[in-house]
Symmetry: C2
Subunit: 462 residues, 2 copies
């Protein structure tokens, strides 16, 4: 078990306290007082997660929640699993304690009325009261995802039965969205407007779409897993990308002048949505970073499915409540690619072994792709798909020397694909390759969103 970095934790606590207290005591409060509180909560989230895990993890192992790390020299050693539950608990508890700050009298306009400018005024307005129900419904969805994720860890639900879990978890949010008379119309891309008009009301289909977003965000992280720190790293980079995107919409004051990345186009609603998104993302970054400290290679704890469920649901929540689900999905490019790559195995076209993690050479500790073996010759469709994948260097096939029939293929995951490209590398190197891939995905996402989207959408961003 990795040690708690007590010096770091002890240093963060006063900093966090200052960030939380600053809007209440500072004569010239920060531009976004509640955001300062949220940043303080993010530091508390990190400190609490980092400090709690070593103390609580042994109880998980004692309760049978433990797993073997198959890629290590001693693969009999069992490591506490499902530790994402600690992150989730800290996260949800902090989001609950955060509620009064959204309403705090001291953060209301009267206090800083004299300095307000048209857009920064938004930040100092009281949290819209009707948004409380949206916030609470988001918490209910996060709770459902956490509980179901933990049940999955305890009862080890088969993956086909797991698919509907995120749909169940998104029900609270969707129901409150419905009961509150939520918007179900979308802006039509400019090329399609002659046919569909500027806005089209999807009605019930919009709820199906939102449930699909939750399902995708949750399961796609769960599928791209298997090496130390990978799930947490993905969640962390996606959360950082969403937060970076949110910051683009906030107007900032520097030395009296107002500066803005200009994405809010003067819209108060956009600023509010992205502030709300930040209130969810900053503490999430905190708990993920705290877990990564103990889960990074060589891992002393495993996150379990709990982590994938609650982080995925957190992403879905901000995308849906913030009305930027399309942008959100752009941050999942590596996961979407992994899902498409995995589809032939997930849907039974190609045999799918229980574990698809790369295999390890116990002497050199170098990883190489694991393979799926065909007990009978693949169908014509499977052969076609595999040949195309092989031509694109996404998989490597072993064929019968005489008949040319495919006998085995490397498992269809991004991890095995990366190993095909790099040759045998160590686990830590592969993790870094994945992190680089995720980061590159976010760079592409920002380019598409702010470079190319202008070609099919105008400024109307409802």
């Amino acid at each position: 078990m990795r040690r708690v970095p007590y010096l770091l934790v002890a240093g963060l606590v006063p900093l966090a306290a200052w960030l939380v207290a600053r809007p209440f005591i500072d004569a010239s409060p920060p531009t976004f007082p509640v955001l300062s509180v949220s940043l303080g909560f993010a530091l508390v989230a990190f400190a609490a997660t980092v400090a709690l895990i070593p103390g609580l993890a042994p109880a998980f192992a004692r309760a049978g929640l433990k797993g073997r790390d198959l890629l290590k020299p001693d693969s009999t050693l069992e490591i506490p699993e499902s530790i994402g539950l600690i992150s989730a608990s800290v996260y949800i508890l902090l989001l609950i304690v955060f509620i009064p700050f959204l309403f705090a009298d001291a953060l209301r306009p009267s206090k800083i009325a004299e300095e307000k400018t048209p857009l920064t005024e938004v930040a100092s307005r009281p949290f819209p009261h009707q948004q409380l129900s949206a916030y609470l419904s988001a918490l209910l969805s996060l709770y459902t995802a956490t509980l179901l994720g933990f049940l999955d860890d305890v009862f080890d639900i088969r993956w086909r039965h797991k698919l509907p879990i995120p749909i169940v978890a998104s029900v609270p949010m969707l129901i409150v969205y419905f009961a509150d008379g939520g918007i179900t119309s979308v802006v039509v891309p400019t090329p399609l407007r002659p046919y569909l008009g500027q806005i089209v009301d999807l009605g019930a289909l919009y709820y199906v779409y939102m449930a699909m977003v939750s399902t995708f965000c949750t399961n796609s992280i769960n599928i791209l897993a298997g090496i130390n720190g990978l799930e947490v790293s993905q969640a962390l980079i996606i959360a950082l990308s969403i937060a970076a995107n949110d910051l683009l919409y906030l107007p900032w004051r520097f030395t009296g002048a107002e500066w803005s990345a200009g994405m809010a186009y003067g819209s108060v609603a956009l600023v509010e949505r992205h502030l709300l998104s930040l209130y969810f993302m900053l503490p999430l970054i905190g708990v993920c970073a705290g877990l990564l400290y103990h889960n990074r290679h060589p891992a002393s704890v495993f996150p379990g499915d709990t982590l994938c469920y609650f982080t995925g649901m957190a992403f879905a929540v901000v995308g849906i409540l913030g009305h930027f689900s399309k942008t959100l999905l752009l941050f999942f490019i590596p996961q979407a690619f992994n899902f498409i790559l995995s589809a032939p195995q997930l849907f039974g076209l190609v045999p799918c072994p229980r574990h698809r993690v790369p295999r390890v050479d116990r002497k050199t500790l170098l990883l190489s792709p694991s393979v799926a073996q065909f007990e009978r010759p693949p169908s014509t469709l499977a052969t076609l798909v595999l040949r195309i994948f092989a031509a694109l260097r996404l998989t490597r096939l072993t064929t019968h020397p005489h008949t040319g029939v495919i006998m085995e293929a490397t498992n269809l995951t991004v991890l095995n694909m990366l190993l095909l490209w790099t040759g045998p590398i160590r686990e830590a190197t592969l993790v870094w390759a994945c992190v680089a891939l995720q980061f590159a995905g976010s760079v592409v996402a920002f380019t598409v969103r702010y470079g190319l989207a202008g070609l099919v959408y105008d400024g109307d961003r409802r």
Copy 2:
């Protein structure tokens, strides 16, 4: 494992569907349309719990959630534990699905405006929008209680560490209560009004009081446990008592005339509060009855701590949000008595063995009181308390034949006390004795509330 009563379940489903659909299709809708829906949900709750338990319980046992039934001939047989989680999941899911019905357009006044009378009008008004946040916060508290209860079952938390769990679970409700500017003033009993005035604002103390109510409701059921079906029976009778109390506040129409038990005194707020309480209690009665079917003597499943936590929190929620916490506590007379009786053992005055359940004669299957033995002579205070308890026939002491020093005492619980009074009886008989006690407690509660409370309170029931 007891069989599912398929005929009963099959009969209940169409009845439930009719109750839910009736307000939408009936030309003359029922007096309280949403209450009809809630009653339908209660039947679904019962049917779902009864039908799901036999299928899901084996998975609990496989995951290590199982326990021995010590009072049976074969005490090595292990029975699935923590099955309260199934009740809790069905309950919370139904409460979430219930949300749109609180807002359904079809249930709004325009539809039945022509028939309304001053008080029944309340029932047909739209659910007050600001109450949605209260409802959602109640769900969050129920979720927290469920998750913590299940964690307790999985990790087997020591009971001293368990005490604060309900406080944590009540945080969401208290925080939303605070953020919404909740009332913290109470009506002063008439004899004290010359000193304190008619109303006194307790401020922060009121939050402490609410947290204490949650803690008491939750732990007091958990402490009075140990024989088949006891926890569920307690929860069921308390829920039925609360529902019966709620019904006293509703105005009813019979053959065109309005009848009322008269407790609402024409107050719209009182009718609304007790309707909300019914929406929580009716499905709770359903899931508890469903669990009791399988947990009754001889039990085929155990409820686990999960049951005590989520039912206790449900009681606290309606008592706090409905502003009738004093009445609520009256329904806990047997639990309060058991708590006072147990206090010397809980607080270390008298030795407390790990299990305090009665002991069984394996041949006759008759139960007799279990005892706590003193390794060293009890303190003067402990001796005094035990002598008083013994004089009241609450415990039986064994003293040293020569010195008269207390050597052992029957464990200080209601179960052992009842066995002292009845002599050796079978487990099923003892369960019925406890049920009768709980029922008698509710009769006393109603007498005190509506007979004696008039002596110290006037009609002012804020």
